[in-house]
Amino acid sequence: MSVEVARLDLRLRRRSSLFYALGVGAYALLIVVLYPSFKDDTSLNGFTTSNPKLAALFGAAGSLTSPDGWMNANLYANFVPLFALLMTIGYGAAAIAGQDEEGTLGGVASLPITRRRLLLEKIAALAVLSLPVPVVSLVAALVGRGFDIELGAGALTQITISSALMAFDLGLLALAVGAWTGSRGTALGVAVAAAGVGYVISSLAPVIDWVHAIRYASPIYWGVGGNQLHDGADTAGFILLVLAAAAVAVLAWAGFRRLDIH
């Protein structure tokens, strides 16, 4: 089966995605390489113990000198979601609304392709674009074994999948809003707002009781907030990520089938 629409969209982002992934990889490797210099610096933990709420806002909670605490505070709780979401929300807003505003979507939609197929290929391209940041981070974490970062393969696999799914879900939200409104700006705005609120909830959940009670309202929490590197898989979060993807895909279809394409 030809997936030419998805290939076209990925081709348009090939170079930028490659350099972006290299940049994220360089940052992740730096974090890994720095760990031996900090692992015995117990004063570092004072940051999270003396002012846990402020530390939580930056994605830091618990021990910062343990391998999982270090990787969470410097990568998985903040930068991985941020870097991955820049890619997926950017594409999600462009895939339908952005391309419609540019006029290029009409060129594809006037070919013998059903709208359902067009949407599925856009979603497939989004799925691919959800992967580079989590995978590059995974590679860096595996390299970390040479720098005293001993993390279980299961925990790493789980957080790689869940962070990719989280990025996919919020990218899909941008795509769905774009499919309903035809407005790239609105799509970006809604998805960025959802990500921002989600980040705050996910970050503060460990230190504020009432935020902890609503933690499952945050897709960021589903993806990276459950301290998966330490506690293992967050099954509830994983299920929510999958269900949300299905629900938002249906929402996207309901909008796209009635969208006036220019």
């Binding site: 030809s2 030419e4 629409v5 290939r7 076209l8 081709r11 348009l12 540019e102 006029g103 290029t104 009409g106 060129g107 594809v108 939609a109 006037s110 070919l111 013998p112 392709i113 059903t114 709208r115 009635r258 006036d260 394409i261 220019h262």
Partner: protein
């Protein structure tokens, strides 16, 4: 299944409302196979909206667009296989080359005759190996034209196709269009270039503010259009006598001279002129510009009588 006897294009009470003013309303027309149909109107009249409804890109508010006897919404992909489309505001991915764009379009269509495509590339002398962002508007338009023609479709839907083309390429385009029609293809040609439509179209429809105001052959429209008549008299004339005649609009007059525009029968004008002693007369049929403007000046609508 398609209905081979059906018109290639049939628009039935086609309506798309964007707001109180914009959109198209109650558009009815038919295009039979093997003809070039000119769709005329100024910018913003509703030409592109009508075309997007035909292509299944817009959902109609009411009515329907049929191609080859099938509803353009319900059977879109099946119908678009048989259609070549050039949008009015052609947008190509700026970082891709023309060749890459045509290759991808061909793969998405899966039905392109490589030899015919190569013929079109040579014929239009298209710049295919430079990124689209570096090309002039005319060179981008060539790529759009090749995209529309390269699968030799049964119906060509072309929205302002010669925009940006130099006169030589306009001639090349006109020749290609005539060859396509000679092979039995049908063309729906939207334009605001009256000369282009006059040269190429068998049938014409004029749209104004979202409503069809005329649909006929060029000759039929010309017959209905006003002629300019200049009369010189032996004795002084009363212009009011002529201004009161049905279908006559006095445009200039002097003591022994009268200029007017006459729609329809000129008999009454000459009957009124004879008593003053006609010394000289000149009559000129409306050119297409005047014809076009005359339809834009009127509020008459013909939505129902052009089906």
């Amino acid at each position: 299944m398609t209905d081979d006897e059906a018109p290639v294009v049939r628009l039935v009470d086609l309506t798309k409302v964007f707001g109180a003013v914009r959109g198209v309303r109650d558009v009815n027309l038919e295009v039979t196979a093997g003809q070039t149909f000119g769709f005329l109107g100024p910018n913003g009249a509703g030409k592109s909206t009508t075309i997007r409804l035909m292509m299944g890109l817009y959902l109609p508010t009411a009515g329907r667009a049929e191609l080859f006897g099938l509803d353009a919404q319900r059977h879109g992909p099946q119908l678009r296989r048989r259609v070549g489309y050039l949008p009015g505001e052609l947008a190509l991915h700026p970082r891709l080359t023309g060749r890459e764009i045509l290759d991808r379009t061909a793969r998405m269509r899966g039905q392109v005759d490589k030899a015919f495509r190569a013929h079109l590339e040579r014929r239009f002398a298209a710049e295919l190996d430079r990124p689209v962002r570096t090309l002039s508007k005319g060179n981008r338009q060539k790529i759009g034209l090749i995209q529309a023609f390269m699968h030799d479709p049964e119906l060509l839907v072309l929205d302002e196709p010669t925009s940006g083309l130099d006169p030589l390429l306009q001639k090349e385009f006109a020749d290609l269009l005539e060859e396509s029609v000679a092979r039995g293809r049908t063309v729906f040609l939207s334009s605001h270039d009256l000369d282009e439509v006059q040269r190429l179209a068998h049938q014409v429809a004029i749209i104004r503010e979202g409503r069809l105001v005329a649909s006929d052959t060029i000759e039929g429209l010309r017959r209905r259009a006003p002629r300019t008549v200049e009369l010189t008299f032996r004795t002084p004339v009363d212009a009011a006598v002529f201004a009161a005649l049905p279908g006559v609009e006095v445009t200039s007059h002097g003591a022994l001279r009268l200029g007017c525009r006459v729609s329809g029968d000129v008999g009454a004008l000459f009957e009124a002129a004879v008593p003053y002693g006609i010394v000289d007369v000149s009559a000129r049929a409306a050119n297409l510009d005047e014809l076009f403007l005359s339809f834009y000046a009127t509020t008459e609508e013909v939505g129902a009588d052009v089906r």
